[in-house]
């Protein structure tokens, strides 16, 4: 089979063989294979529930693809609430004529990413739409997790809490920007697209007192810090020089006048912890693959409620504001 045809979404034989030979094979688990109208699930603790749709363009980029993103994105949203990711749904809307090989690569990528958290896809849907109705493929994933650490909330930052970022920032936005036509640039930038659950699990196992966690997706680090400052009515004082940014990302920012703090991330989180646990949290994060470049970047104060202040290393400071306007369309 070379291309996906409208018949693959028709609900008949072609649909069934697509589901069976591609999706069931890649995502294989008992619940999914039971092939009921709805998946029957059991969760012991409180539930965290999230959904995201993925429309990223290009669908394959350095460091990932739309499939990897669709899994990591939803799994991370659960992880950020202290919930172990358990069950996902996956809905595909595919453009007629989409290459089967590409779909295979995307699905394999999803299966691989699922292993990092142990979550399972237990239900799904496939639609095929006429040419031009979507741009190649859109994916929606919804996720259920069991909350194993309660009380994590962006409304709950405490004075003197320490802010840690789990890795260098801006890589996903920079990677997608690089792939877009018209810029004519090449560089070694890989999206940071990744599952954060192992890092979160390690923090929870280490009994770290976590006030808040958020993965820095659209709007980047700037957005997360500003949202926290506003929601918790606190001030976040950040040391500019401590924010890790890798060289090629900085290069793109220099070339085009962007700010790395505004670029999206898809596998980098900001974690707010109690001051006494800060060093331990840092050590724990650095012992994980996804958090190996974690850095402390600042702390929570009451200097100017609702604002984020960036301190330079030469003695000046300024407010870090929310990024304005459309930087990059369709980056996640």
């Amino acid at each position: 089979m070379k291309d996906i045809q409208l018949s693959h979404g028709g609900g008949g034989e072609e649909t069934n063989s697509l589901i069976r030979d591609l999706f069931y094979k890649a995502f294989e688990n008992e619940t999914l294979l039971a092939a009921e109208d709805a998946a029957l699930l059991k969760v012991e603790k409180n539930i965290a529930f999230t959904t995201d749709s993925f429309t990223v363009s290009p669908i394959f980029f350095s460091g990932g693809d739309i499939g990897k993103l669709a899994i990591a994105g939803t799994v991370n949203d659960l992880a950020m609430m202290g919930a172990r990711p358990l069950y996902l749904s996956a809905a595909f809307i595919i453009e007629e004529g989409f290459a089967f090989d590409k779909l295979q690569m995307i699905v394999d990528s999803m299966a691989k990413e699922l292993k990092k958290s142990g979550a399972k896809i237990v239900c799904g849907d496939t639609k095929v739409v006429p040419r031009g109705s979507v741009d190649q493929i859109f994916i929606n994933t919804a996720g259920i997790g069991e909350v194993i650490k309660e009380g994590i909330s962006s409304n709950d930052l405490h004075l003197d809490d320490v802010i840690i970022v789990t890795g260098d920032v801006g890589r996903h936005g920079a990677a997608v920007l690089m792939e877009r036509e018209g810029l004519g640039i090449n560089g070694d930038i890989q999206s940071d697209c990744d599952t954060l659950w192992p890092a979160v699990e390690a923090l929870i196992d280490g009994n770290i007192s976590i006030s808040a966690m958020r993965d820095a997706t659209r709007g980047g680090l700037s957005a997360v810090l500003n949202e926290w400052a506003e929601q918790s009515s606190v001030c976040l004082e950040i040391e500019e020089a401590h924010i890790p940014i890798n060289e090629p990302v900085q290069g793109i920012c220099e070339l085009f006048g962007f700010e790395a703090l505004d670029f999206a991330n898809e596998g980098t989180a900001v974690v707010c912890v109690a001051p006494l646990h800060a060093q331990m949290a840092l050590d724990i994060l650095r012992s994980t693959e996804v958090g190996k470049n974690a850095q402390v970047i600042g702390r929570v104060t009451n200097k100017k409620e609702g604002k984020v202040i960036l301190f330079s290393s030469h003695g000046s400071s300024r407010y870090l504001d929310l990024p304005k306007g459309e930087l990059l369309p369709r980056i996640c």
Binding site: L183, S316, R318
Partner: protein, 373 residues
């Protein structure tokens, strides 16, 4: 350190210890000032550096910045933005311009909004890309809406050169290139203007050479220091200005010696002169008409001139800014963004009422985005 690494050119001129040390020296030197220093940094890139690195906070209170009109997008009057929009609406036209122009609102719409309506409008990262687009679309009329100061003008000239020599007949130009020294004269013509020193633009000077500022110190009794755009460059330039004032000198000096010479890039200058020449009048948003302050295609290249070819569809009425806008006063140092009654309320980067708010290099925009703590 006898081997220069590329990163030295970045980090070396952003070194926090050096910035702090220069700040110290500036504070010592400034004590000897008889009168306060009002430095205009002409170029928007310098405004950006000053705001991003919070340099004003490091200076004593008797030194103030007056942010100049050095932002080619900011000074584009609305009626000329409307030209771009009108051109995009013409049959079989592909309108090209540099990225910054896309979001600026004209009187009714912006290029971005028009693009969303389906008009073929494409932002370019390099003017050279226009060649490929023209060649790939032989049945379209490709119009390059050219903007920029002296820094960007030679690139348009190089594009025109290639167009003419390759005999490409479907690429046209709407020229909006402007010049720095006439703008300085226009601002200083107002006797109330407080400026008594200038930080000269970095990259305009790379192209034109520092020679274009030679008459300014004499004319206005004001030091001119041509500065690089990194924070160390700007701080060093302020120190050089201070020393001049304290020694009663008014001279043109080059701080940006690694890139600026007196002569500049003569090949670029020749290319410009081959295809472009000064036009009698050009309205600068926020300042008004400044004679000989902009360029147009030479008459022998009229067949490439979109402004002539499409003259009958291009609006000519000057469109003034909102009456509450005080950009003109801000540009002369007679007011600050915060003095404006609509700053940050009716006038924001997303819906700018005046030139200073339009792009990240306008004074009001910079104050809005990089608000000091």
């Amino acid at each position: 350190m006898d081997n220069l690494q590329l990163k030295d050119l970045y980090e070396g001129f952003r070194d926090p210890s050096v910035i702090k040390a220069l700040a110290k020296q500036i504070n010592i030197e400034a004590k000897k000032l008889e009168k306060p220093l009002y430095i205009m940094e002409v170029c928007g890139g310098h405004t950006h550096t000053i705001m991003k690195y919070g340099l004003k906070q490091l200076l004593p209170t008797n030194i103030d910045f007056i942010h100049g009109p050095g932002c080619p997008v900011c000074i584009m009057p609305k009626e000329r933005i409307d030209h771009a929009i009108a051109l995009s609406e013409q049959k079989d036209v592909i309108l090209l311009t540099l990225g910054d122009m896309i979001r600026v609102p004209g009187s009714k719409s912006s290029l971005a909004e028009h693009r969303a309506k389906g008009y073929d409008i494409r932002p370019l990262y390099s003017p050279m890309d226009a060649l490929g687009i023209a060649q790939d679309n032989p049945d379209k009329k490709v119009i390059f809406f050219a903007i920029g100061f002296e820094t960007t003008t030679p690139m348009t000239a190089a594009l025109i050169d290639r167009t003419v020599k390759s005999k490409i007949n479907n690429l046209f130009f709407h020229i909006n290139h402007v010049l720095v020294p006439p703008a300085v004269d226009a601002i200083m013509a107002d006797k109330r203007a407080k400026i008594n020193a200038f930080i000269g633009p970095s990259h305009v000077s790379v192209i034109s050479g520092a020679k274009i500022y030679l008459r300014i110190p004499e004319a206005y009794k004001a030091p001119v220091v041509v500065s690089g755009f990194e924070p160390v460059d700007v701080m060093q330039s302020i120190l050089m200005i201070l020393r001049q004032r304290n020694e009663n000198r008014s001279e043109m000096e080059i701080e940006y010696s690694r890139s600026v010479t007196l002569e500049g890039n003569t090949k670029a200058q020749e290319l410009i002169n081959t295809y472009l020449h000064p036009r009698g009048h050009f309205r600068w948003r926020g300042i008004g008409d400044i004679p000989d302050s902009a360029l147009e295609l030479r008459p022998e290249y009229a067949k490439y001139d979109a402004e002539k070819i499409y003259a009958d569809v291009l609006p000519q009425e000057p469109i003034d800014d909102h009456k509450l806008c005080i950009c003109g006063e801000i540009l002369k140092g007679l007011a600050k963004p915060h003095d404006c009654s609509v700053f940050g309320t009716a006038c924001t980067p997303n819906k700018p009422l005046g030139s200073c708010m339009v792009s990240s290099e306008g004074a009001c925009n910079a104050y809005y985005r990089f608000a000091e703590v």
